[in-house]
Subunit: 335 residues, 2 copies
C-alpha cells in the first residue's frame, strides 16, 4: 500500500463519488493484515452505511460452475450487456486457493478483456487469505464498499468445487449455476448441494453442434430441479441455455434474474434473506473476534501449553484443563 493513505473523509467522499482509485485503496484496507488498516476500513464502511446518503438497493448475484464451464466469458458477456443498459457492475471473487495458485480466477484480468477496460465495471480478484473464512469476510466487506461506490449489480464468482459456494450463497440475493452441455452433475463435478442452492441454472456453450447436448442437459436439470423441495420465497428454479461466447441467451438470463428479483421483493423474501445474512455475518464476526482475542492472548498461550501436555498424557481431564485456561482469560473480569 502506498504511504499516501487518504483520510477517513477522503475515503468516504471518494467512494461516494465513484472514484475507482479510492475504492481500490479502501478494498486494500479491508484486505490488509494490519489492525490499524482494518480499523480504518470499518470506520469507512460504518460511515458509508450509517448516513442518509446510503447507496440505492443493489442486486448481488453469485455465479459458479465447474472449471471449464466458461464463467469468465459468461460474466464478461453479462457484464457488457448490463453496462450497455446503463448499469454499473462490480465483479468480485471468492477463491481461497488463490493465495497458492496466484489467482486462478479473476487474477488474470485479460480473461475479461472488454469488461476490464469498461468504465462502468469494476473487477477485483479474490482476496488472498489463508482460510475460506478470511477470504469470505473480506469479500463480504468489499461488497458494501462497491455498492457505496454506485455499483448496483455485484457479481460474485466462485470456483464451483467446494465450500466457497456456501460462502457466496450467504452473501448474495440470487445464485446462478453454469453447466456444460450433455453430462449430468456427477460427471460435471458439481456437488448436489450446489445444484440445490441454484435459483437459476444455465447450460453454457449451447452453440454449433453442442445445441442438442445443451438441450439434453437442460431437460436433465429441469427434471432434477423438479425433484427438489420447494424454495424459500416460492421460487421454482429455472433452467436456461446460453452461449456466452456468442452472446446468445444472455438477455433471457437477465430477464429471469429480474423475474426472480421481482418475485423475491414481492414475497418479502428478498429483505428477509438479507436480514438473515446480516445476522449470520454478525455471528461469524463475533466468533472470529472472540477466537482471535482468546487464542492470541499471551497468558492463554502460556497456560494452554502447560495444560496440554497433561491432557495428552491423560493425567488432567480436558474439561478441567479448559476451566484452568478460561480462568486465566476471564480472571480480571467480574463475570
Amino acid at each position: 500500500m502506498r504511504r499516501s493513505l487518504p483520510t477517513l473523509e477522503e475515503f468516504v467522499q471518494g467512494i461516494r463519488a465513484g472514484n475507482r482509485v479510492v475504492l481500490g485503496k479502501a478494498i486494500t484496507l479491508v484486505e490488509s493484515a494490519r489492525p490499524e488498516h482494518r480499523a480504518l476500513a470499518q470506520e469507512v464502511i460504518g460511515r458509508l452505511l450509517a448516513t442518509d446518503a446510503r447507496p440505492a438497493e443493489s442486486l448481488r448475484i453469485a455465479v459458479t460452475g465447474a472449471p471449464g464451464v466458461g464463467k469468465s466469458t459468461f460474466i464478461e458477456a453479462l457484464g457488457m450487456y448490463l453496462t450497455g443498459h446503463g448499469q454499473r457492475v462490480a465483479v468480485l471473487a471468492i477463491d481461497p486457493t488463490s493465495a497458492l495458485s496466484k489467482g486462478s480466477i479473476l487474477g488474470d484480468k485479460t480473461r475479461m478483456e472488454r469488461l476490464s477496460v469498461n468504465e462502468q465495471a469494476f473487477i477485483r480478484p479474490s482476496p488472498s487469505g489463508e482460510s475460506l473464512g478470511g477470504v469470505a469476510r473480506k469479500t463480504r466487506e468489499t461488497i458494501l464498499l462497491a455498492e457505496a461506490a454506485g455499483y448496483n449489480t455485484v457479481i460474485i464468482e466462485t470456483v464451483g468445487v467446494g465450500q466457497s459456494e456456501i460462502a457466496a450463497h450467504s452473501m448474495t440475493d440470487v445464485f446462478l449455476l453454469l453447466l456444460l452441455p450433455g453430462a449430468g452433475d456427477e460427471l460435471q463435478g458439481i456437488k448436489r448441494g450446489i445444484v440445490e442452492m441454484a435459483d437459476i441454472l444455465a447450460v453454457n456453450k449451447a452453440d454449433g453442434d453442442r445445441v442438442k447436448l445443451a438441450n439434453q442437459a437442460r431437460a436433465y436439470y429441469l427434471n432434477a430441479t423438479h425433484l427438489l423441495p420447494p424454495r424459500p420465497g416460492g421460487w421454482t428454479p429455472r433452467v436456461l441455455t446460453c452461449s456466452a461466447e456468442q452472446g446468445a441467451g444472455i438477455e433471457d438470463i437477465w430477464k429471469t434474474i429480474g423475474e426472480y428479483h421481482t418475485q423475491a421483493l414481492a414475497s418479502g423474501f428478498f429483505h428477509e434473506n438479507r436480514r438473515q445474512q446480516a445476522y449470520y455475518w454478525l455471528q461469524e464476526a463475533l466468533q472470529n473476534g472472540l477466537q482471535e482475542a482468546f487464542f492470541g492472548h499471551p497468558d492463554v498461550k502460556e497456560k494452554l501449553a502447560s495444560v496440554e501436555q497433561k491432557v495428552l498424557a491423560g493425567t488432567l481431564s480436558p474439561f478441567a484443563a479448559a476451566e484452568l485456561v478460561l480462568e486465566v482469560f476471564l480472571k480480571s473480569r467480574n463475570i
Copy 2:
C-alpha cells in the same frame, strides 16, 4: 439430587472402592446444571486422574445401528458374556433426543433385564440436555468416572441415525456397527459416513430363516468395506454375523474386538488416538466455555441487542457491530 452430598474425599474414596451409589451421585453432579455441582465434579475427576492410583487401562466401545437392529439385546448379550469372564462393564449412551422422547435408549432398564441386575455391570441412561454438545460432554466425563470406579469395558450406545455417532466415535477406541440381515445400508437407514467409521460390522438376527439373508448382508458389507480407504493403524474392517437373542456369535465378536485392541496397541494407534481425542475434547471445552462466558455476559447481551437491530436494518455493518460488542467484553482487559 439429595441434600446429603458426599464430600470431595468421600466421592474419591467411594468411586475408587467401586461404590455404585457414590458413582451414580458423581454422574449426577456431571449432569447437573448448577455451576457448584459441575465445579465439584471437575475436582472429583481431577483427583481421580491425577494421582498414582489411576485406574487400569480400559477399552471403550461404541455400539450403534439403526432402530430395530437389536442394540439393547446385543449389548446385554455382550455385557453378560464379559461379566461372565470377570470383566466389569459400564453401559452409557448418547441420545440427544432423550430429553424429548423421555429416553428412547437405555431409559427403560427393563430392556436389559439381566444386565441391569448384574453386580459387575453399571448401566446409565443418556444424560438429557438440550444439545448434542452438552450430552456428549457429559458422557465423556462419565466415562472417566466409570473407569475410575473399575469398569474396564465401557460401552457407548447411540441411536445410529445422526451426529451422535460422530460424538461417540470421538470418545471410543473401537466402533461397532450393527446391521440387519438382507438390506444394503441405504435401505437400513445407515449413513455411509457411519459405515466408514466402523471397525467391526456385525449383522445381527442371523438366526432361523434369516441366516441366508444375514450372509448376504455380510457379503455386501465385506465388499463395501473393501472399497473404503485404508484405516488409520492399518486395520481392515471385519464383518461378522451374530444372533444376540440366541447368544450366537458374541464370543467371535469379542475375539475380533480383542484382535483390534491388540493391533492398535502394537501399532501405537491406540494411544495416539486417545491423545488426539483428549486434544479434541480440550478444544471443544475451550470453545464451549468461551461461548458461554461471552454470550452469557450481561453487558454483551445488552450491547448485542442494541446493535442487532441496526445490523438487520442494514445501517451498521455486521463486522463493525461485532467490534463494538467484542470491545464491551474485552475492555477491562489489557489485550
